[in-house]
């Protein structure tokens, strides 16, 4: 399998694609029998330092419903200057610019190593990046101060030509005008009133009778872009009032200028308002309305978001923009209210939700979903930075980020390094000095005839593009071959699910290959529009004759993550136990299909190497917070799931099955089993669950540390031992987004629970004595251990009745 592993690795490195199966069963029937669908994890913007974008436009198939991009898999007739589309077999002439094409003079897109290629599209204007801060002011003084500082700091991280805007909210929502010269000015909205986008724009003075962009016909991107182009013209008008601008409205020539100057009142290039905004942020005060005893502050998050979305809709539709929402508590009034302002009414828990006792849940969720959809349509993403000890309503608001590709960051306070550094990391730059973010992505999937696409799971919304390659069978967000991903980072990964539609009686010729092309258009952070095209092909295999081959082409890591995504996706809408049962059944069926066993003899059960880890992944997945809500608040569950469905394979796997490293005097650090047996007194453990980074000092180590041996010169090595996991953790902390919660604990420490809850409870209070004390730490749990799980699995897999 080494070959397959290399192949997989190579594919991932080159194309950012991990398929569950690297050989595809050649018929629908066989494909269904494989249990795990043909699917892939695709990282559209996988960083490719070695892949310079080409400066021309892609050549596309001329068939109207195909439009596939010329790729290395196409057959080319160099003499006739004709190429055949490998998806629809349409023969297309090369465009005139390809006149010089020949076998020795091929364009990049025809070279096999360019199965992934990026084009820079020159046509159309480039749009600015937009950052709209939506800030909750119902915060503790300390928190607010920290947040203000973070925001002020962030101004220095933004590209100078990026546009910024500021909305603050508490009981009221204030949209701050940034262009005012004399005194600071803001537009205020009542926090309890649900306003339509049109109303908001009217109230902000953004719609003038004859201004471009009638409702229902939002100005095309170029309009917004034009506003930039006309920036020079518009700026002088900044000082003019709206009504003055009215005069210009009659002059079409100035139309754009007007649009932009309207926009400029609330969104301004950073370099222009740097000082203003810094001052403004500096003067930001806590919400001045008194909060009576026994009440929560009134927080109009819903309206604030609505205003933010409305503002962007009216000014920069179809332009990359980030709404960054900073909240310190749940929305307590108006539309999108999550909990009332009475402190005696606690915010909903999973228990309440299961009992259907969460009054505001449905309404709020619906409200935020509507907002998220509107936002997604316009290509604006929404980030949520929720820092509070209690829940902040992420459950209801998660869709804002999930559907628009925004981030969710959850912390205890804005005054923590977790938030500060995470926030800073949002503005990380890549090797080119560009932000690791892209906007307005539209990903299209094209498949060869035998394959259809069922859906995608990730931070995307459907664009409802029904094409010939769209399957009727939906998995995840389906029914389309195009998805919008409003915000993309190099690690954003979607799970894409396919269906083999080739009928059993229509065998594919030997050596036939199925192909999938991913065409991702997006706005690069340097404002260029780009198109990245990834074309991959896999061989068809007859499942009956080549089942071994297929089995060995199984990518169990990818499959685990893909199945997990399906599970999480289901968990969003279904009851937890149902999802677990579904997962179990899939696992059992897979084991039945590929396991080697004698009927009804569990002990005879064996799995090939390519599947050997899969059950273990499933075991941890079942225990993961993605599917288990016990001990998690609804917000936490939402938060975990949010990140699970967007991270790449490696991170996803870490989430499913945390990594455990052991440090000891016995040797170099080594990964150890995520098992209670790994918890030993003389070890330091470093566990990375993606969300937490736990350093656990074994009992002995802890005692030594307490005794201060590390301070003594003669125990330098102990000091080094203590330092080693810290260094490693630091490394992870440096790169991970969002920054994980960093926990430094020891045997018996209260925070050791983070570790204990993750490890396989191979030793519990039930079997403690059977295992012997020196071989690990018992976990006080009734959860089944991996061993028990496997035993059951084997039993079920081999039973004839299954």
């Amino acid at each position: 399998m080494a070959t397959y592993q290399e192949f997989i690795q190579q594919n991932e490195d080159r194309d950012g694609v991990r398929f569950s199966w690297n050989l595809w069963p050649s018929s629908r029937l066989e494909a269904t029998r494989l249990v795990v669908p043909v699917s892939c994890l695709f990282t559209p913007l996988k960083e490719r330092p070695d892949l310079p974008p080409v400066q021309y436009e892609p050549v596309m198939c001329s068939r109207a419903n195909c439009k596939a991009v010329l790729n290395p898999l196409c057959q080319v007739d160099f003499r006739a200057k004709i190429w055949a589309c490998n998806f629809c077999f349409q023969r297309n002439p090369f465009p005139p610019s390809y006149a010089g094409i020949s076998e020795v003079n091929q364009p990049a897109e025809l070279m096999p190593q360019f199965s992934t290629i990026e084009y820079i599209v020159q046509r159309g204007p480039s749009a600015p990046l937009i950052f709209l801060y939506v800030v909750d002011t119902c915060l503790e003084e300390e928190d607010l101060q920290a947040l203000k500082e973070s925001l002020q700091m962030s101004l220095s991280l933004l590209p100078p030509n990026a546009f910024v805007g500021l909305i603050t909210f508490g009981r009221m929502v204030q949209v701050h005008e940034l262009s005012c010269e004399l005194i600071s000015k803001s537009y205020v909205f009542r926090g309890t009133k649900d306003l339509t986008s049109k109303q908001i724009q009217e109230m902000l003075g953004l719609t003038k009778p004859s201004v471009a962009g009638q409702p229902g016909h939002p100005p095309a991107p170029q309009d917004a872009a034009a506003s930039c182009r006309y920036e020079g013209v518009a700026t002088p008008h900044l000082l003019l009032s709206l009504s003055e601008l009215k005069l210009f409205l009659k002059v079409p020539l100035f139309k754009m200028a007007i649009v932009s100057s309207l926009i400029f009142r609330f969104l301004q290039p950073v370099h222009k308002v740097d000082m203003n905004l810094t001052d403004l942020l500096g003067e930001l005060q806590r919400d001045p309305w008194p909060v009576p005893q026994g009440k929560r502050p009134l927080r109009s998050t819903g309206v604030a978001l609505s205003v933010a979305v409305g503002l962007l809709e009216g000014t920069f539709p179809n332009t990359g923009a980030r709404v960054m929402l900073f909240i310190g508590g749940p929305p307590t009034q108006g539309p999108g209210m999550v909990v009332g302002d009475e402190l005696k009414t606690p915010i909903r828990s999973w228990h309440d939700i299961q009992k259907d006792n969460a009054r505001h849940l449905k309404k709020a969720t619906k409200y935020y979903e509507a907002l998220a959809n509107r936002s997604a349509v316009n290509g604006h993403s929404i980030d949520i930075y929720a820092c509070a000890l209690d829940q902040t309503g992420l459950l209801e608001m998660k869709c804002l980020s999930n559907l628009t590709g925004g981030h969710i960051v959850m912390g205890d306070s804005f005054n923590t390094s977790l938030f500060k550094q995470t926030f800073q990391r949002v503005f990380n730059k890549d090797y080119n000095g560009d932000f690791r973010m892209a906007f307005g992505g539209i990903m299209e999937v094209k498949t060869s005839r035998e394959l259809k696409v069922c859906g995608a799971i990730g931070p995307c919304v459907s664009l409802n593009s029904k094409g010939s390659c769209v399957s009727e069978n939906e998995m995840g967000v389906g029914g389309t071959s195009q998805w919008k991903v409003c915000s993309l980072s190099p690690s954003t990964t979607l799970g894409i699910y396919f269906e083999v539609v080739n009928q059993h009686n229509a065998p594919i010729p030997q050596g036939g290959r199925g192909a999938v092309q991913f065409v991702t258009q997006y706005q690069h952070s340097n404002t260029q529009r780009r198109i990245r095209v990834t074309t991959i092909a896999r061989n068809w295999a007859d499942a009956q004759s080549q089942i071994q081959h297929i089995e060995s082409s199984f990518d169990q890591e990818a499959a685990a993550v893909l199945m997990a995504r399906l599970g999480v996706f289901r968990a969003e809408s279904e009851e937890g136990p149902d999802v677990l049962r579904w997962l179990d059944r899939q696992l059992i069926r897979l084991c039945q299909k590929f396991g080697q066993f004698n009927k009804d003899d569990p002990t005879s059960f064996k799995l090939s190497e390519s599947l050997s880890l899969y059950p273990q992944f499933m075991f941890h997945l079942r225990r993961s917070p993605f599917l288990q809500v016990f001990n998690n608040s609804p917000d936490e569950s939402s938060y975990y799931r949010h990140h699970f469905v967007r991270q790449d394979l490696t991170q996803s796997l870490i989430m499913i099955q945390p990594i455990l490293y052991s440090y000891s005097f016995h040797g170099p650090p080594e990964p150890v089993l995520l098992d209670s047996s790994s918890i030993l007194p003389d070890r330091i453990l470093l566990m990375d669950t993606f969300f937490q980074l736990v350093i656990y000092h074994g009992e002995t180590i802890a005692q030594w540390r307490k005794a201060g041996y590390q301070e003594m010169a003669e125990y330098e090595n102990f000091k080094q031992l203590l330092q080693a996991p810290l260094d490693d953790a630091q490394e992870i902390l440096q790169t991970r987004f969002p920054m994980p919660r960093y926990v430094d604990t020891e045997h018996g420490g209260s925070q050791a629970r983070f570790l204990l809850s993750k490890v396989n409870p191979s030793q519990t209070h039930n079997n403690l004595y059977a295992w012997g004390q020196e071989t690990g730490a018992p976990i006080l749990t009734d959860d089944v251990s991996l061993q028990v799980f496997m035993d059951h699995l084997k039993k079920l897999a081999v039973t004839s009745s299954a």
Partner: protein
């Protein structure tokens, strides 16, 4: 005064005329009930007896005064009458006769009044005198005019003077006594006395004068009039005294008698009177003859002025009759002050003569004649002829008959001056049912148990005991209450009483507050309520022993036991939500739309506010005001400002969601001026700058008030909003309005809808405002229709004010606006007020007029109540009242002071009750009645066609007067117009009300103006309505330091081409410059001697270093200081286009929109009365 009209016409004319004259007098005299009765008597007699002669007399006068203009209505007849005027002279003889008869009658009248005298005591005398005076004036006025013309009368004057000396003293004493004594009996005596002494003298004068006059008349028309007048006058006014004197000049006679009396009473009167009267008269008269040329104008004018004044004084002297004579008389006696003016006047005289002829006739004849003509020419004429037969009259008589001599009809000026002359001593309120001096009189008040007239004025101080009587008389029973009125510096503001934690002591049943009418019984352990008679225990802490008279020992230590007005400190029980209120807040909401900025309003407001911040109302002048302030600007959207002291710069918060208004911030919006001064000043500097280039023309209005209201709600306090607004709110928002100004509706049944608010939104809003104690003051700067009727709903319902500056231009209107604003911000004000009027059993407050809101039928709720707001309360009987106990009224106003203290201000008022209608008519106050009627009518137009409202008014007044005529006046010819002394000005004032822009708009009066006036008047007190309806017109030819020139009647005829006049309405101030004004005068005033160089656009007079200019400017300043609104000075040059506006305020003249002249209206009234009587 009875005016004989139609019937009298022919014969009546003669009669009527006399009637008029008489009526005037009678009324005056009667003003004090007693006189009335007597007068009536005489009048009637006069009419009958004299009629013929009168007729003649009148006829002539009328004709004399070419007054025809005024009489236009009357048509040619009048004119002819006027011409007749001169002839009247001949009539004179007849008059004597009349007068005689009068005497008798009068005597009778005086008899009944006997009771009065008592009341009046010595002071009463004064009042009587004044009343008489006034009556006299009227008469005199008439005579005077005539007199002037008569210049010759001088000769007569002497006699007059004689009569004065003799008669006066006698009259007074006599008069009083007679009044007291049985009418009949007394009268005779009185009359005898009066006449006895005076009469003879007077008569002689008359005779002499008359003859002379007549003779003179012959020479000049003027003389005749006098004769006529006399005849008329005598009957009416003289009824009592005059009769003897004045058979003909009765008018003058009475005056004479009065004069004497006055002098007798106090030196002051004589002094004052003499000066005024004399000068004019003297000057006039003397000059007249000579200066005849001076022009009719001057002539008339002087006469007018003089007459009034002089008339006051004159009256004493028989002058009147011999008007001219009188003048002369006056002159001799006291050419003094008045003389100054006389100068010009003197010149005038000549014209007067001419005029006089006209006027006199008018006066005398006018009444009679007018009526006559109306009824039927034939009739009147014939009658006249008869009279005429007497003398040369026949020819002229007819003309005279038609016209009433404006000088012969009751003159407001005369009445006012008489009252002034009479009121020389402080008015003490201790006597129940005592009518206070007129609002035009400057007097000092001593609170001795009843509220000062500055707080409460009643329409009647002696009210009928039964509902039937009240209904019969139709005299409205109402009180105009101005609870927080500002008192002059020399009067003590109400004391603050603290009854401790239990709160004010109140009656258990009716909840009336402790007051002087509570009777302590059982040794002081209990008290009996004066209102409901319920007996209540005295709380131990309030117990006090009684002295031998049953008074509490601490009577004089406790304001609530000894005073009519005082304040209680309210306890927490009297507070909203049982919470001590927060100090109030002022919120300034400034329109910053294009028009507002362009007109300069925004800049001016902002600039001024900076200064005003230091002058917020405060209770303790030494401390900073506790009033917090907030600022909002708006156009289509609202901008709130955060001016928290900790901010370096103010912050603007824009609220565009006007559909549901809210306050975007709490902390930092309402701030303490001291703490946030820097930020506020910065804001006020910035506002004009920020909106300097705005192009936004649309505005909202409803949300603006909502914003202020919400802010006050959020801050949990009461307060006041100052809204500076420019245009019709057409932007999409609650309370959005349409332009509905449709001139076509005017005069139709739908006209009323124009006065109703266009949408109900503002009514609802007003209710909410009141609930929160949010008072709204609206400053409007419209360039076009803004629908004041709708916009004013909230201000009016919340006790706020509306100010309107149409076509506001910074340069010319700034001063007015700023002064209004300053005053408005600084004036004492109470918030969240509730007013309750309690009355003794038997009557009940049934209706309220003013700026307030009522959620039930008894509580007047005022979000804000300032020192300028008056509430008119109407009372109705629900049971019988008793004459012994009288009727009590207690007005309690619970309010939050500007310092946040909850207080109760209590005003008590006791009035007499009567079972005789004559008592009622003797104790009425016409100014207050007019106040009530106007408010009643102006509210009526909301629901009724304007015409119907006008008719109702006329009808009610006719009934009032008819009732008097029927029940109180002595029998007389039906053709005679007899007016009660107290109400003799009712017709002229009523005519002013009818002619007001609200009820009878001129073509150029916008709907907004009418709506504006309508609401303005609803909150006016008596003095404001008085000057508003009958503007004050002061001749400026000669100014004395220390005293104002005597006003002249508001008629164009009184204007002299050579003069300069100041006209004040309380809202407007005009300086009218005659085309031939003396150069010196112009030089003194304007610094230029050329009429042509006077710049009519100037809004203030140049500051010149001469005493005249100084005095004039001081005068103007003092006028402005008197009024609650700053009056912009408008310069009007004679025959300039702007004169039209000015003429609009000459209320005695016919106006362009169809309003009747005084004379015409009087005739019309008479007709109405006659119809009622028949």
């Amino acid at each position: 005064m009875n005016v004989n009209q139609h019937t009298p016409m022919a014969s009546p004319y003669g009669q009527p005329q006399p009637g008029y004259g008489q009526p005037a007098f009678a009324p005056l005299d009667t003003g004090y009930p007693p006189p009335y009765a007597p007068y009536n008597g005489p009048v009637s007699t006069y009419q009958t007896g004299e009629q013929p002669p009168q007729g003649h007399g009148r006829a002539p006068p009328t004709s004399g005064p070419p007054a025809p203009q005024a009489y236009n209505q009357y048509g040619g007849r009048h004119q002819s009458d006027v011409q007749n005027g001169p002839p009247p002279m001949t009539q004179a003889p007849a008059r004597p006769v009349v007068s005689q008869s009068y005497n008798q009658e009068r005597v009778n009248l005086s008899g009944p009044p006997s009771s009065y005298p008592q009341h009046y005591g010595s002071p009463p005398a004064m009042s009587h005198v004044t009343s008489q005076m006034s009556g006299m004036q009227i008469n005199s006025g008439l005579p005077n005019t005539a007199g002037p013309g008569y210049a010759p009368p001088h000769s007569s004057k002497p006699p007059v003077s004689n009569s004065f000396s003799a008669a006066p003293p006698a009259t007074y004493t006599q008069a009083l006594p007679p009044a007291l004594s049985a009418p009949t009996q007394a009268p005779p005596t009185a009359s005898q006395q009066y006449y006895g002494g005076p009469p003879p003298s007077s008569q002689p004068p008359f005779n002499s004068s008359l003859p002379p006059t007549s003779q003179q008349p012959f020479t000049s028309p003027a003389p005749p009039p006098p004769s006529n007048q006399p005849s008329f006058a005598p009957p009416p006014s003289y009824s009592g005294p005059p009769p003897a004197q004045a058979p003909s000049p009765s008018m003058s006679q009475p005056q004479q008698s009065f004069h004497p009396t006055q002098p007798a009473f106090s030196s002051a009167p004589p002094g004052s009177f003499p000066p005024r009267a004399p000068p004019p008269t003297s000057s006039q008269y003397p000059p007249p003859p000579t200066s005849t040329p001076s022009g009719q104008y001057p002539g008339p004018l002087p006469p007018q002025q003089q007459p009034p004044f002089s008339s006051g004084p004159f009256p004493p002297r028989p002058q009147m009759p011999p008007t001219s004579m009188c003048q002369s008389n006056h002159l001799p006696p006291e050419p003094q002050g008045p003389l100054g003016p006389p100068g010009p006047l003197q010149q005038m005289p000549p014209p007067q003569h001419v005029m006089p002829g006209g006027y006199a006739p008018q006066q005398n004849g006018a009444f009679g004649q007018v009526r006559g003509p109306q009824p039927g020419f034939a009739g009147p004429y014939p009658a006249q002829p008869n009279y005429g037969a007497m003398g040369p009259a026949p020819g002229p008589a007819p003309s005279t008959q038609k016209r009433l001599d404006p000088d012969a009809i009751p003159s407001p000026i005369q009445v006012i001056e008489d009252d002034k002359a009479k009121s020389t001593e402080p008015f003490s309120t201790g006597v129940r049912g005592q009518a206070p001096p007129l609002v035009t009189t400057d007097f000092h008040v001593k609170d001795q148990g009843n509220a000062s007239p500055r707080f409460i004025r009643c329409t009647a101080y002696n009210i009928p005991c039964t509902a039937d009587m009240a209904k019969q008389s139709q005299v409205p029973l109402a009180a105009v209450i101005k609870p927080l009125a500002t008192l002059p510096a020399d009067e003590t503001p109400p004391y603050l009483v603290d009854h401790g934690e239990g709160g004010p002591i109140r009656c258990n049943r009716c909840k009336a507050y402790m007051c002087p009418y509570m009777q302590f019984i059982e040794g002081g352990r209990r008290f009996q309520c004066g209102f409901c008679s319920c007996v209540t225990e005295v709380p131990p802490h309030y117990f006090q022993h009684l002295d031998h008279t049953g008074k509490r020992v601490d009577f004089y230590d406790r304001p609530e036991l000894s005073l009519g007005s005082y304040e209680f400190l309210a306890t927490v029980d009297y507070c909203k939500n049982n919470k001590i209120p927060q100090p109030p807040a002022f919120i300034f909401l400034i329109d910053v739309s294009y028009n507002a900025v362009k007109s300069g309003m925004v800049g001016i407001v902002c600039q001024e506010l900076k200064a005003l911040l230091d002058r917020m109302p405060r209770e303790n002048p030494d401390l900073d005001s506790t009033v917090r302030v907030g600022f909002v600007t708006y156009n289509k959207v609202l901008h709130f400002y955060n001016v928290k002291s900790s901010l370096a710069q103010p912050q603007m918060l824009v609220v565009s969601d006007v559909s549901e208004m809210f306050v975007p911030l709490l902390d930092g919006f309402l701030v303490n001026v001291g703490e946030s001064r820097q930020v506020i000043e910065s804001l006020l500097d910035h506002i004009p700058e920020m909106f300097a280039n705005t192009r936004e023309t649309e505005t909202v209005f409803g949300p603006v008030i909502q914003a202020g209201l919400e802010a006050l709600k959020a801050a949990d306090c009461a307060g006041k909003l100052f809204v500076f607004h420019t245009s019709l709110p057409i932007a999409e928002a609650p309370g959005k309005l349409k332009n509905r100004e449709d001139k076509k509706l005017i005069g139709t049944d739908k006209e009323k809808s124009l006065f109703q608010p266009q949408v109900s939104f503002y009514n609802t809003l007003a209710k909410e405002c009141v609930a929160q104690g949010c008072c709204v003051d609206l400053f409007l700067f419209p360039n076009q229709y803004v629908d004041v009727a709708t916009l004013a709903v909230v201000p009016v319902s919340t006790g706020g004010s509306v100010y309107k500056y149409t076509y506001f231009q910074a340069q010319s209107d700034q001063e007015r606006f700023l002064n209004d604003l300053r005053r408005d911000v600084q004036k004492p004000i109470g918030f969240d007020a509730v007013m309750r009027v309690r009355t003794s059993t038997g009557i009940r407050a049934t209706d309220f007029f003013g700026s307030f809101f009522m959620s039930n039928t008894t509580d007047v709720e005022l979000a804000g109540l300032d020192c300028d707001k008056a509430v008119t309360v109407e009372f109705k009987h629900d049971d019988k009242l008793s004459e012994e106990t009288g009727a009590l009224v207690q007005c309690a106003v619970l309010y939050t002071s500007c310092g946040g203290q909850r207080r109760l201000r209590v005003h008590n008022m006791a009035v007499n009750c009567c079972s005789q209608l004559s008592d009622l008519y003797r104790n009425c106050e016409t100014d207050t009645i007019i106040n009530f009627l106007s408010k009643y009518a102006f509210r009526g137009i909301l629901n009724n066609p304007t015409k119907a409202v006008r008719d109702t008014l006329v009808n009610q007044c006719a009934q009032i007067l008819a009732c008097y005529r029927k029940n109180c006046a002595s029998p007389s010819s039906a053709g005679q117009l007899i007016l009660p002394e107290c109400m003799k000005l009712l017709p002229v004032y009523l005519n002013c009300v009818l002619k007001s822009d609200v009820l009878l708009p001129a073509a150029d009066v916008s709907l907004d103006d009418r709506a504006y006036l309508r609401q303005l008047i609803s909150g006016m007190d008596v003095s404001e309505t008085h000057v508003f309806f009958y503007p004050r017109l002061l001749p400026l030819m000669k100014l004395e330091s220390g005293s104002l020139p005597v006003a002249v009647r508001a008629s164009e005829e009184r204007l002299s081409k050579g003069g300069v006049y100041l006209l004040e309405t309380g809202l407007h101030l005009f300086l009218w410059v005659g085309a031939n004004a003396q150069q010196e005068l112009l030089l003194n005033i304007f610094g230029t001697s050329s009429f042509g160089q006077i710049d009519t656009t100037m809004t203030s007079l140049p500051v010149l270093d001469n005493p005249f200019s100084q005095r004039l400017r001081d005068m103007i300043d003092s006028f402005r200081a008197q009024r609650s609104r700053y009056m912009k000075l408008m310069l009007v040059k004679q025959e300039d286009r702007s004169e039209l506006i000015f003429r609009h305020f000459l209320m005695e003249d016919k106006n362009a929109s169809g309003g009747a002249s005084y004379v015409d209206f009087l005739c019309h009234m008479h007709k109405e009365i006659r119809q009622l009587l028949s």
